[in-house]
């Protein structure tokens, strides 16, 4: 794999900023992804026949926080991320099958069970945290900070404060 040109993250990030502008101007949509996860989760729960509709969450905004909102702009946006990333990876020859993240294995060893535990603990914290804060690094980070929202700058700062402290605890002693 060739070494990444230094300007690439800046240039591609700037293009993402143009994309945000175009999306807001044309479709009236800010980029964001995390709301789709509780929607998908409730959609799956409905599919397997569990009825949770008595819960308050299902009544908020006419049920628009649940799978009842599918298909919507954001669901297609999330699917699009997958399609676009797949095409870009294949065309650039950077598609790579990986069973565990190498940096994680270097620290914790080749242990699938432990990775699953990390993923469940981390996944619950990430999604509860994102929906509680009102967004993730795309919704709060890129879209919200672009709107100069105090809430988004606070949330983005907290993402990194929590992340940096936890990464330090998890990876201390690991090779840097």
């Amino acid at each position: 794999m060739s070494v990444q040109k230094w300007y690439k993250p800046y240039l591609l990030g700037a293009l993402a900023g143009l994309l945000l502008t175009a999306s807001v101007g044309i479709a009236g949509q800010f980029l964001g992804t995390s709301t789709t996860f509780p929607r998908a989760a409730t959609w799956i729960i409905d599919m397997v026949g569990i009825n949770l509709e008595h819960l308050e969450f299902y009544q908020v905004h006419g049920g628009s926080l649940t799978g009842a909102a599918f298909p919507d702009w954001q669901l297609l946006f999330v699917i699009g991320i997958g399609v676009g990333a797949f095409l870009a990876a294949r065309l650039s020859g950077t598609f790579k099958l990986e069973s565990l993240p190498p940096m994680w294995v270097e620290r914790f060893g080749d242990r699938l069970g432990l990775r699953i535990v990390h993923s469940m603990v981390g996944g619950v914290l990430v999604m509860v945290g994102a929906r509680m804060a009102g967004g993730c690094p795309s919704g709060h980070g890129i879209s919200g900070v672009s709107q100069l929202g105090v809430s988004s700058m606070l949330a983005l700062s907290m993402f990194f404060v929590g992340g940096i402290i936890t990464a330090r605890l998890l990876y201390q002693g690991g090779k840097s």
Binding site: L125, S151, L170
Partner: protein, 174 residues
């Protein structure tokens, strides 16, 4: 039409994320370990261009928007929980889908974890609204309104701050 635009916007965003390498575990955890600032470069560049773009549209009267509501309870507690989980996962919600698409299929576990988190959130929702939201709840508030200055001054300040941060990253090879 809305759906097609969502798909196309997502495809472009996914391709940009992939080419910038920000979909990678190493880049996400690398930023949190303060050894590789790729995702910060990407995000801040997007924020600078995006903030100029959408405020230009707003000044031209083409769009109007209000920032997401500010609640110290929600953003401090939620933000910290997100950050802690993010360090465990090495992925955030958007990048997880993209990482799966570029072959890193171990991300299926974080994706399942986040779906589980979606269910947990459904049950916690009433408690969060009743007890966390009221803590320091200020509604939609932008930095320019808070300080009583032009949004262009705030954007200029962010751009200047980012420039020095970028220069520091490049000097240190981060």
């Amino acid at each position: 039409m809305t759906l097609i635009m969502g798909l196309v916007t997502g495809m472009i965003f996914g391709a940009l994320l992939q080419q910038a390498q920000v979909l990678r575990f190493e880049k996400q955890v690398g930023a949190m370990r303060l050894i590789d600032m790729t995702i910060v470069k990407f995000m801040l560049s997007a924020i600078i261009v995006g903030s100029i773009g959408i405020h230009l549209l707003a000044d031209l009267g083409m769009v109007s928007f209000a920032p997401r509501g500010l609640s110290f309870g929600l953003q401090v507690v939620g933000g910290l929980l997100f950050g802690i989980g993010w360090a465990f996962l090495g992925y955030c919600p958007g990048t997880s889908i993209g990482a799966l698409a570029e072959g890193r299929y171990h991300v299926i576990w974080p994706i399942l974890g986040m779906l589980l988190g979606g269910v947990v959130f459904v049950f916690l929702y009433p408690w969060i609204q009743a007890h966390l939201r009221p803590l320091g709840d200020f509604g939609a508030l932008s930095v320019s309104n808070l300080l009583g200055v032009s949004h262009w001054l705030v954007i200029a300040a962010i751009a200047v701050g980012a420039f020095f941060l970028f220069r520091f990253f490049e000097k240190k090879g981060l």
